[in-house]
Amino acid sequence: MAMTMTQKILADHAGLEYVVPGQLIKAKVDMVLGNDITSPVAISEFRKTGFKKVFDVNKIAIVPDHFTPNKDIKSAEQVRYIREFVKEMGIVHFFEVGQMGVEHALLPEKGLVVAGDVVIGADSHTCTYGALGAFSTGVGSTDMAAAMATGEAWFKVPEAIKFILKGKPGRWVSGKDIILHIIGMIGVDGALYKSMEFTGDGISHLGMDDRFTIANMAIEAGAKNGIFPVDEKTIEYMKEHSTKPYKIYEADEDAEYSKVYTIDFSEIKPTVAFPHLPENTRTIDQVGDIKIHQVVIGSCTNGRISDLRIAAEVMKGRKVHPDVRCIIIPATQKIWKQAMKEGLFDIFIDAGAAISTPTCGPCLGGHMGILAKGERAVATTNRNFVGRMGHTESEVYLASPAIAAASAIAGRIASPDEL
């Protein structure tokens, strides 16, 4: 019975020889994740049902990252509620301000997820870890509660869409442009309920950070998960960050896919998603004259060290446009320190940008850069829905760190080549 990579991981975790699309299974989970917004709901469900302890104190990660450092009293109360639960249960992987990072940058960095794992997280961007060759998917708080209690989750085995990636990306083309291009092509429900399985020689041109960005936005095409094969770069990354044993799964040659797309990197141009859906994409040469008021470089999509390096490369020796506030948010403490050591902060500060402590903050309109009525932002984040970063009449344009940095300098959406 031929299976995709996702199907093989799920079959193994369900204790089955093989699975078929549509089959309902119960699978063991290797990691359960929650944040400051979703964990309180999970904890009250867990308590209401009368459970006294969690299934494994080492297989739960709780990362308050959305409204932290706590933006108001209610947020602080929510994190206190989480903290009390974590202490009572003895949960090991709990990261507060000072240790904390944006969850999907933090978990791989801390070595808590590796190839072959099944990971569920009460956060939709949990699909990020597919970059490591893991099956990981976003769920809700009740699923998190149930998994904390039982160590299992129910899944409908997904069909898969295959994306054959080939060619070499051009100058200023990153993982962000590739995934925006794909979402523009298939739409925000183009992979609804399905796996997006990436394959092909082109992957060798993508560093881990680019792969994290691509897998991260699989949810923006409606997918259950996005997954990459494991290669030398993946193994090198895992060796550097983790001591957890990993397992490499490969799709069968004759596995069935509901669709197959071939994506040639050499044909992709820097891409921007216009309001109010990630599928509203235009290539940089088609954007026209869009004046902007804010730039955000950060998030679980693009707050990693290579993202900051590209932004610094573009901003070096230049000044942020006087009409623009530029906010840079390294995704974890480790990335923060690395960026500081490399002198990237000097470049950003000299350019007139602000540097924030790690937080999801403005990405979801929480804090640290909310938009007023009529304001426009270019953000390296993942969603541009109505009101996402503030007022319902504000606008978010999604782009790569290179485009965001160039736009901060130009005061309008621009490519680094235009500076």
Partner: protein, 168 residues
Amino acid sequence: MKIRGKVIKYGDNIDTDVIIPARYLNTHDPSELAKHCMEDIDRTFHSRVKPGDIIVAGKNFGCGSSREHAPIAIKASGISCVIAETFARIFYRNAINIGLPILECPEAAKAINDGDEVAVDLAAGKIYNLTSGCEYTAAPFPDFMQEIINADGLMGYIKRKAAKATES
């Protein structure tokens, strides 16, 4: 379970950020969340919604964030059922897990109008438009999901299973 109510209709890709904006997620109290349900797309929703009312929407309802606060806010607003052409998958799970009835039925979702009076027979997957007289059938839930719904959500289901395991 019999459901009957007036329809409030929305379009495609209704995301969880408009169902319940993130600025209100510093609480998880259902009645507080209900006050701001649909606020960013429909400021009249909270004042006009009546217990039993039904939301009918287009494709990909509930896309975006995994926040369970979205189906919680809808349920706490008094909405008895959501009918859509398709649902985003995390919203679909969440709705079942918290016991908010949902039905995927493209024909009904397209044909039913705002303000229509609609009745739903959940177990049979039947949707009756009492205003137009039309009838639709949604794909029935697999038994496993039906059991979760009957147990008023996933945690109730797990509890029942645990109780059964102890008995035997």
